[in-house]
Amino acid sequence: MSDHENAPIVTLTDAAKHFGPVRALDGVSLSVSLGDCIGLVGHNGAGKSTLVNLINGGLAPSSGKIAFAQGQTAFGAGVRSVFQELSLCANLTVAENLRIAHSALNGFGWRRRARAEIRASLDAVFPGHGIDPDAEVGTLSIAERQMVEIAIGFASRGSEARLVILDEPTSALDAAIARQLLAHVKQFCANGGAVVFISHMLGEVFEVASRIVVLKDGKVVAERPTPEFTRAGLVDAMGHVAAESGGVATARRDFGPEVVRTDQGLSARRGEIVGLSGLAGHGQAAALARLFLSRSSAWHAGKTPDVVFVAGDRPRDGVLPLWSILRNISISILRNDATRGMVNRQAEAAVAKDWKTRIGIRTDDVTNPVLSLSGGNQQKVLFARALASPAPVVIMDDPMRGVDVGTKQDVYAMIRAEAARGRTFLWYSTETEEICQCDRVFVFRNHAISAELNGTDITEEKILEASFEMREAS
């Protein structure tokens, strides 16, 4: 490493990344040098994954500069990333997965060398791991897969790993294994490596990071050595600087009997707006999908469904891409006006026209293709689909993605009005502002409910507190 010793491995200068009109990263300057261990924290949508993808070379910046030491590419500079979503081949063995990542590993006897290399890396990071390099990844538990992925990140693979990016590496690991990882990260940095560590466990971040970078709305809002932060200060920095108080004053209303209760502890009463909060990917969407599937059938459909669903992930869960706006709105209510199984096209058109004006879908004609609409307007179509149906329970999976501010206010009012008429809403959102519209909030962490907040307790601080693990990394 001789003369590159003090040169940064990667330097970002005013780097920005736009996806269409969305500014995912809005001018970030950051440099990572050998020996650094950077804790990267931020709320949902702060730009963490975009930043990671710039550093590992997966994305090119829209503007600004990014420079790697030693050679031009991220891989050549020794940047390795361990992704949050599992990216192993389940049909291959542990050692074979190393082969995919390490193309120089070939020739006679590569298997032996791959086994030795992955075993060495596993032994170094997780002593006593008990993972057989010849085990097929599909037969491993989630925690073991995560361990393998981390070990591949730290494995030498031809050239030394110099900067390892760990995105929520402990999410699937138990406490003892997580401790081993933290110890290894400290050791790795002490020996001259560098790590970017992303975690919702603030205790872990405080333990390993030498420097903490706080991202908010695509910008670095704070970057200081770890000892200069306190936990409360960190949570403050992630949240709104001028924290407005608890949103709308929700007048205490009387709710009807309980209409939803799941094994997980999620419950809702008639006429109630129940929020699901916490960091993205902590089981809220899965809980809602399970609830929907358990309350509806793949084999029969009654005239009035019990539940309806408003999707936030539009391509995956919501939009029927080949169809017009009209057909997308009417799909869930076709049975209501049908005569002898035939669609009542007048009634269908009337409903679509009505909702076009009520929810303000920007189009001259509802027979236009749904994909001609902007994302926010497509989202309105999905709202219209659900609200047009008489179902008593409405499940909403982060339904406001890409919806503009003015429309949001209209939709809030609409939801409140529908709730007052006795409909129940279950509303998962990554936006605190939306969660503050709710009568009651469940905060999720690690696929379980970590807090239930009521009325005036629904504040950004309380939600953040419950979303992040505040305890010491045990």
């Binding site: 081949c89 291959l92 082969r99």
Partner: protein
């Protein structure tokens, strides 16, 4: 994870063993060099075709043109390769390369493999008819000698099956590039993220499938001594069935060359077994279908048990 889910080769081996035991019970005389040779006579081309299909299934596609392609290879073998060996060899090489090209095109244009190979089955079949409008042709002598050689201890078909299994096992399960190819079926995104070119890998998988398809056609001609344009049409279905019987799965790159060869042997044996049972030949095709359904049911039960543990 259950034992059977971990060692997916066990089910195919047990299926073959049970069937073999039943055959010997029904017809003890089959338990001989000559008997085995008769039982597994046509197994070699079927095993090669099954390997070809397995290579396509390995990268999450399916080949509905394989039967026509094997027929075409057989027609070329029985005509050009016999009359003008150099020209014949060049044509066969061209067929292999066109398979590789097909794989690249399917990947680049994101075409549905099932429809493209369906169209190709017309093309291959048409060319075969062009070459050999009526059944005929002659197998090259060396090929005939090779396919009818009588090795010591075990008959040709059994020896060849073992060799095919061993070679493809080394190629697909042991070698580095075979591992990457299986990775394409398992998680193409992570293979691409590690810097591999998916187009080249798909072309390689298809090209190898073409190679084994050509070998299947040659082996078939060596056994039957002549060819016709429809000689191997059944192989499309047989090869898919063989892959599945051998423990392969449709998606996820979970395939087993050894299993595929065993699957092909099982299918060949099933036909012979049924004739020993004096079951009318009417039922032979149906029995193959029933065996397929039975094995898949057994596999489902085992994998359910595995998931419960």
């Amino acid at each position: 994870m259950s034992f059977l889910a971990r060692h997916r080769i066990i089910l195919p081996v047990v299926s073959l063993a049970v069937l073999l035991a039943a055959t010997f019970y029904m017809q003890p005389r089959a338990m001989s060099y000559f008997g085995l040779n008769l039982l597994f006579n046509l197994a070699v081309p079927i095993a090669l075709a099954t390997i070809a299909q397995m290579l396509i299934i390995m990268v999450n596609d399916i080949d509905l043109s394989l039967g026509a392609f094997v027929s075409l290879a057989a027609c070329v073998t029985a005509t050009s390769l016999n009359d003008a060996p150099l020209l014949g060899a060049l044509i066969l090489l061209g067929l292999i390369l066109s398979y590789a090209l097909l794989g690249a095109v399917i990947h680049m244009l994101e075409l549905p493999a099932i429809v493209v190979t369906l169209g190709m089955s017309f093309v291959w079949g048409g060319i075969a008819l062009f070459i050999l409008p009526a059944p005929g042709g002659v197998s090259p002598d060396w090929l005939r000698t090779l396919m009818t050689v009588k090795p010591p201890i075990a008959p040709m078909a059994v020896v060849a099956a073992v060799i095919i299994a061993a070679v493809t096992h080394l190629l697909i399960m042991r070698s580095g590039i075979g591992t990457v190819l299986r990775g394409v079926g398992g998680n193409a995104r992570s293979v691409a993220r590690a810097g591999w070119s998916l187009v080249r890998l798909k072309a390689l998988a298809y090209g190898l499938a073409g190679l084994f398809g050509v070998l299947a056609g040659m082996a078939l001609v060596g056994l039957t001594t002549s060819a016709d344009a429809n000689i191997a049409l059944r192989y499309t279905l047989l090869s898919i069935a063989g892959v599945i019987l051998g423990g392969g799965e449709f998606i996820g790159g979970r395939v087993s060359p050894t299993g595929a060869v065993i699957g092909a042997l099982t299918l060949t044996l099933a036909a012979s077994f049924l004739s020993f049972m004096r079951l009318s030949p009417d039922w032979q095709i149906g029995a193959q279908g029933a065996i397929l359904i039975l094995v898949l049911t057994a596999r489902l039960i085992f994998s359910r048990k595995g998931a419960e543990e």
